[in-house]
């Protein structure tokens, strides 16, 4: 195993251009595994009984969330045929936060505390799929609109959902508000534990569906007309993909809260490095980049700067810059 890794690295040094995508993926995976190992063992001081489950939960959350964001972003960019749009820039996670708040608003925290959190989660995801499916179908797919209009409308929808969430939260009793407060900020230190297991199951199920239709996704990337020509049942497929995207966004937002520009960053890193447009490679590559970024970033923030939950602020900064560059470059073409 080690010998083959050394060989791979040597090969990469010599013919960097001609490295096949599979090997690039393997390298990324090794980097991710290496980082995770370091994260699990650094400064452990022998307290394994405490540290392994504690850090393990964090890692599990990062892997789940990273992969969910990466896969949903790549698929969303494929069906909208656009590499600026991402679900979170379009307000998907703001919508999920709104649905969460509406549930608390109408049911009340007392009744919610009696409810099984997994059941509540399922209910929210279901509402999210129905609502966002209709809204974004109408917005993106039904009518041909200019890309810039779409992005702008998406951003403003995000602001609207955000303000509306804020408004409802102000109208909820302060005690009930406390239930929601934690959900608003992305942080891997306050991961929703009860949902980790069910999230993992959902993500595995969604991944199986994605894997079975991976070639259909490649066909969709050709655009509407061409994909219909090669035999894709366009409307139905788009709806399915949109539903998958929505489920993934709900899972990641429920676990850690919204991280706006993360998907944009990792998707573009994947497109740039993997050297193939096939979803077989881009989705895993984006997922691995997510894990590398989240684990590495969290480690650097915790160990070097000794503070925790501002990872999402850093991501917003870098992602915002990338977005401006992408828009400006697109405008120049």
């Amino acid at each position: 195993m080690l010998a083959s890794v050394a060989k791979v690295e040597a090969v990469e040094g010599k013919v960097a251009r001609a490295v096949p995508p599979v090997i690039r993926l393997v390298l990324l995976a090794l980097a991710a595994i290496g980082l995770i190992t370091v994260f699990m063992t650094i400064e452990a001081h022998g307290n394994w009984d405490f540290i392994l489950p504690f850090r393990g939960r964090k890692i599990l959350a990062m892997v789940l969330v990273g992969y969910a964001i990466a896969a949903s972003t790549v698929m969303f960019q494929t069906i909208t045929n656009n590499r600026i749009l991402t679900p979170s820039i379009m307000g998907f996670d703001a919508l999920y936060m709104l649905i969460q708040t509406v549930v608390v608003f109408f049911l009340g925290a007392a009744r919610l505390s009696q409810m099984n959190p997994r059941f509540q989660f399922g209910l929210e995801v279901l509402a999210m799929v129905g609502f966002s499916g209709t809204l974004y179908w109408w917005l993106f797919i039904r009518v041909e609109r200019s890309v810039h209009l779409l992005v702008l409308v998406g951003i403003i929808f995000g602001v609207l959902f955000g303000s509306f969430t804020n408004l409802l939260q102000r109208m909820i009793d302060p005690t009930e508000f406390a239930v929601l407060q934690d959900a608003g900020f992305a942080s891997f230190n306050s991961v929703n534990r009860t949902l980790l297991g069910i999230s993992g199951l959902i993500i595995i199920a969604v991944s199986i569906v994605i894997w079975r239709m991976i070639h259909v996704l490649d066909a969709l990337a050709l655009g509407r007309e061409l994909s219909i020509t090669v035999g894709v049942e366009y409307r139905r497929t788009i709806m399915i993909v949109l539903a998958l995207v929505t489920i993934l966004v709900s899972v990641s937002t429920a676990l850690v809260g919204p991280i706006t520009f993360f998907g944009l960053l990792v998707a573009h890193l994947a497109y740039q490095t993997v050297g193939s447009h096939s979803h077989r490679y881009t989705i895993p590559a984006a997922g691995l980049f997510s894990v590398i970024f989240l684990v590495g970033g969290q480690m650097v923030l915790e160990r070097v700067f000794s503070f925790n939950s501002s990872l999402s602020i850093m991501i917003d900064f870098l992602g915002g810059l990338l977005f401006i560059i992408l828009v400006l470059r697109g405008g120049k073409k």
């Binding site: 209009l149 951003i155 602001v159 609207l160 408004l167 706006t260």
Partner: protein, 328 residues
């Protein structure tokens, strides 16, 4: 649908009366109730007149000043950049002003309010200048790129702000500047807003120049105006107004964007004619939002930034999707 100018000023008078009516409603809403009749006949107790003069009147005046000045600031920016969707909150101006307040708070912890405003204005100017520079580097294919770049620039700037606020434990103060709220307004805490009012008046007087500057550098020079100077004056007015408003009440999203757009949809783009309408509509809109925020969950209050955020984003969406047939 041309409207006669005589009829128009008649309607403007009517709109002003409407705003005054809203202002009166705004005066009587609150936990402490009193009647105007008692006040006028001199029978009111000491508490009533104190509540009125220390809290209610300053608040209502502040709302009118902020509403009018922010809307006019948005109108000036739209003329100078020649784009309908540019405004202080979609060009990084507001976010830069908050960054400025944060920097001065860190450097000089007990800075006086005028110093804060001065510094916030300077940083707001720098941020808006950066936005204009970015715009120059793209040939404008779609007018929608402009607000898109502006919103994102604002996002990047505010992530820098929240990074430092987080680092130095100022997140709570930051949320005061970023979410507009009039409940803190008392006598002695709003008077600087008159500066916004005065600048708005100046903007009225020289509104024609902004229209000309909006026609482009070559055309402006051709007419004998100094393009650079008009641009500088316009942006300075905008940035000072925004800095004053953000320091005293906090940011109010979309106000400078939707009010001028709605007015120009109804009355066209003749600025001399529409400027008073923009000011009156801005004041009325903000008064209405404030009344809604104070009555929705009486006796508690919903910050006006949140109310305007909901209403404003809906109006902005309607403007975008309605106009998409033309623009897209």
């Amino acid at each position: 649908m041309q409207v006669q100018s005589g009829q128009l000023s008649y309607r403007l008078g009517l709109a002003t009366v409407g705003v005054i009516f809203l202002a009166c409603i705004s005066l009587v809403i609150g936990v402490y109730s009193f009647s105007f009749r008692d006040l006028i006949s001199g029978q009111a107790d000491v508490h009533s007149s104190m509540v009125l003069f220390v809290s209610r009147i300053p608040r209502t005046v502040a709302i009118v000043l902020v509403g009018a000045s922010t809307s006019i600031a948005g109108m000036i920016m739209q003329m100078l950049v020649r784009n309908r969707f540019v405004s202080p909150s979609t060009a990084g101006t507001v976010e830069s002003a908050s960054l400025g307040i944060l920097i001065i708070t860190l450097l000089v912890p007990n800075a006086s309010i005028p110093l804060k405003i001065l510094f916030a204005s300077l940083v707001a100017l720098a941020g808006t200048g950066l936005f204009l520079l970015l715009l120059r580097s793209i040939p404008l294919r779609s007018p929608l790129i402009v607000p898109l770049v502006g919103i994102m620039l604002g996002g990047v700037i505010s992530s820098v702000t929240s990074f430092f606020a987080y680092r130095y434990d100022l997140l709570q103060s930051l949320s005061i500047w970023t979410n507009g709220d009039f409940s803190r307004i008392l006598r002695g805490r709003y008077e600087l807003l008159w500066l916004s009012g005065a600048l708005t008046l100046i903007a009225f007087i020289i509104a024609d120049r902004f229209t000309v500057a909006g026609l482009g550098e070559a055309f402006t020079t051709n007419l004998g105006l100094n393009y650079g100077r008009v641009l500088a004056i316009g942006l300075t007015i905008v940035c000072i107004v925004i800095a004053v408003n953000v320091v005293t009440v906090g940011a109010i999203p979309f106000l400078g964007l939707i009010v001028p757009n709605v007015v120009s949809m109804m009355l066209g783009d003749n600025v001399k004619r529409t400027a008073p309408w923009v000011a009156v509509t801005g004041a009325g809109f903000l008064l209405a939002c404030d009344i809604a925020g104070r009555t929705l969950r009486f006796p508690f209050e919903i910050p006006i930034g949140t109310v305007v955020g909901v209403v404003g984003s809906v109006v902005f969406l309607v403007l975008l999707l309605r106009g998409s047939a033309r623009v897209g």
